[in-house]
Point group: C2
Chain length 425, copies 2
């Protein structure tokens, strides 16, 4: 089995290292010897984390996808600009493709899957979501008897690291972000991680696999964690919750919900205890009920673990009639965010003058929204009161109306923070 | 694809129900229609949880394993007495076999696997460990690139329910066991669950899959939870630990450790937060690092989820060259329990007279054992002091020597409780 690799950075280097380290056990599992014959790199003279003495390096990636001796191409470059055409070329040349590239799949996955089906090759992407956690294989194989009802994942390690540090050490967002950048967890431009785009890429892939639908990344409601304050985290703790940045997908009748946002979840939920850079995905199936898959969402060898598992799958099942559930699926309607029902958390700053609570609760009453929990915490130096509220399960439009009314009131002193509260039963 | 079922109780009935409920999605995944044609039951006139109108029932189980139309036999009777010969007969008749029977596998798995290989049929058993959690598929497929270094599992829901209730509600073992029996979680004879035999069956299966070794159930060191007291749980909490009944398997050089015992683990470990009847398995692989698989360890449809996932696997991969890592493996040496290194927790009751602490610490000093944590809690009505101690990592023989010396001393007032303390890093 001859492998060509596109990209020999962290992940590509990790793949070469793990293939070498565990060559014996991989041979025992597959019956064949896996050999990396060719790797496309940006600069052949660069230092690498892996030994490349028996691998031909080329600066022309097309040499890899066109090479007659390559059976499987591993696309480990990332980004969508050059990779789309490379993957298409590899598929058209009859090569199986394994990719860790969530952006490529989220944006062009539907066409690529179709092309792979037409060319009777496999396109696998376990490493694209939650790093080394075998969540895609679990959804497709381990949970294959289930109709998946919902899933909720912590799929961005950077965001989870930031929220964990904010909670455990009472630090603010900007401070922890700077540390995350220094540690190499976050990019110089952290937008993809902290604004939820990376998580939305991954959620769209998970939802497609779980529900057997087409990828619809453009329909994911996406909100990041950059506006979470230490106050929010303290109020959440006091109310018995933990704030996690979750990607949530649910089947609702014949439609689905897909949303990425900071979420208050019960502190006793197992996923509330997933901390630091770790990832986890909670899945609810109609037969199994709730299950959870936890592990490293990034790192050279953790990601390599998923890439090589796909490689072993291809070798062992070349002649199988393994069918992806979504191949023949229609585009399923994604529910508009304004129509989603949820409990909500609101944090307000109001003038501490008499009659404010009556006016405030009247606003909720007018929208027919119940207040399930209420904390009025302290009066600050400007004589303002800090308030945190949990509502009953209501429509998103309702809560946005309440926010608008409060912000237009004479007692309001700051923009109203709104966060989802989710019961993951 | 024609299926014959042995046993139509909780699990068998669940399988029929899930196959019916999700017939469409299973057909989409497999391309074939799965039909249960024949079921062997003890009493054909008995009421069942599933509709049997289109299934032929027989009271002769051999009719199922000998029937020419049956392609796959699901063995869901349990126990080893009648099932061993039934499974052997099915395999010799060229039928694939799926079983949820951990006792059968733990005790006769090596011969049965060999027989299946000789007859070129598959013997699958995802449901035998941790119910619906796809832990065997994850070890074989999702983690196939890894050399597994260790695993630790909460694989008996009854035991975990008892320990959770003892901790959360300050109830004693006998009291919770009675409730577990009333709720149907524990059998009238609870020995298999509370003394760890069920967990040892499952651990021996997990270790064989993880390390690619033969099954060696008889070599598992097994200790139950019946001697855990509410004092132990309180001391553990105070020291920052949770007590869980774990099955632990580790690779140590060319040998392995296999042991089932109550274990103190750090309260912040994710597996420490697995409560009630839920199961979880923590796996450490050399590439992925630590990952965890969590879900329902029992229940009709949860177990059916695993049985049917195996069935879908057989249908989709009939022609694959899927190889179980352990097929060609030698018997690996299992390390004697006396030679295992661990931190330990000791709980003592001693007379509260002067000089006792000096004598006690001298016993530890003589065995070259350090005391890492020490609590002397209170003096009771009989003027005895309660003491809890955590040692450094030492040999099991050392701690047994300490126990013997303390119990032989003039100041000792009760047998010394000894529990393992495990760092699951």
């Amino acid at each position: 089995m001859k492998v060509g690799i596109l990209g020999l950075g962290t992940v590509g280097g990790g793949v070469v290292n793990v293939l070498r380290k565990n060559a014996d056990s991989i041979k025992r599992r597959t019956g064949v010897k896996v050999k990396v014959v060719l790797a496309g790199v940006r600069d052949v003279s660069q230092d690498r984390i892996c030994d490349t003495s028996d691998i031909t390096l080329t600066e022309d990636p097309y040499e890899v996808v066109n090479h007659k001796d390559v059976d499987v191409v591993l696309e480990l470059i990332g980004g969508t600009e050059v990779t789309k055409d490379l993957v298409e070329t590899a598929i058209k040349n009859g090569k199986h493709v394994i990719t860790a590239n969530k952006a490529l799949l989220a944006e062009h996955g539907n066409e690529l899957i179709q092309l792979a089906n037409q060319n009777k090759v496999r396109l696998l992407f376990e490493a694209s979501v939650a790093g080394g956690i075998p969540i895609i294989k679990s959804l497709e194989q381990g949970l294959s008897a289930n109709k998946i009802e919902s899933l909720a994942g912590i799929v961005n390690g950077t965001g989870n690291f930031i929220l964990t540090e904010m909670k455990e050490k009472d630090r603010d967002f900007a401070d922890v972000l700077k540390e995350a950048q220094m540690l190499g967890y976050a990019e110089a431009d952290p937008t993809y991680d902290v604004e939820g785009i990376d998580a939305a890429h991954k959620l769209s892939i998970l939802a497609a696999i779980a529900f057997g639908t087409e990828l619809q990344f453009d329909k994911v409601y996406t909100k990041g964690i950059s506006e979470i304050t230490t106050e929010d985290i303290k109020y959440a703790t006091e109310l018995g919750y933990v704030i996690k940045h979750l990607g949530i997908a649910k089947r609702v009748g014949n439609s689905i919900e897909m949303r990425v946002h900071p979420t208050l979840i019960d502190k006793d939920q197992i996923i509330a205890n997933v901390n630091g850079v770790m990832n986890a995905v909670l899945v609810k199936g109609d037969a199994l009920g709730t299950s959870l898959y936890y592990g490293a969402g990034a790192g050279d060898e953790a990601t390599a673990s998923a890439v090589i598992a796909d490689l072993i799958d291809i070798i062992n099942n070349q002649t199988s009639n393994h069918i992806l559930g979504w191949k023949s699926q229609e585009k399923t309607k994604v529910i508009d965010n304004n129509l989603i029902n949820s409990e909500f958390y609101l944090r307000l700053l109001v003038s501490d003058v008499s009659g404010v609570l009556a006016k405030l609760t009247q606003i909720f009453h007018d929208q027919k929204v119940s207040i399930e929990a209420f904390i009025q915490k302290k009066v600050d130096v400007d004589n303002n009161a800090h308030i945190a509220i949990i509502t009953n399960k209501i429509n998103t439009k309702n809560v946005m109306n309440i926010k608008a009314k409060i912000e237009a009131s004479d007692f309001n002193q700051d923009s109203v923070q709104i966060l989802h509260v989710e019961t993951l039963d």
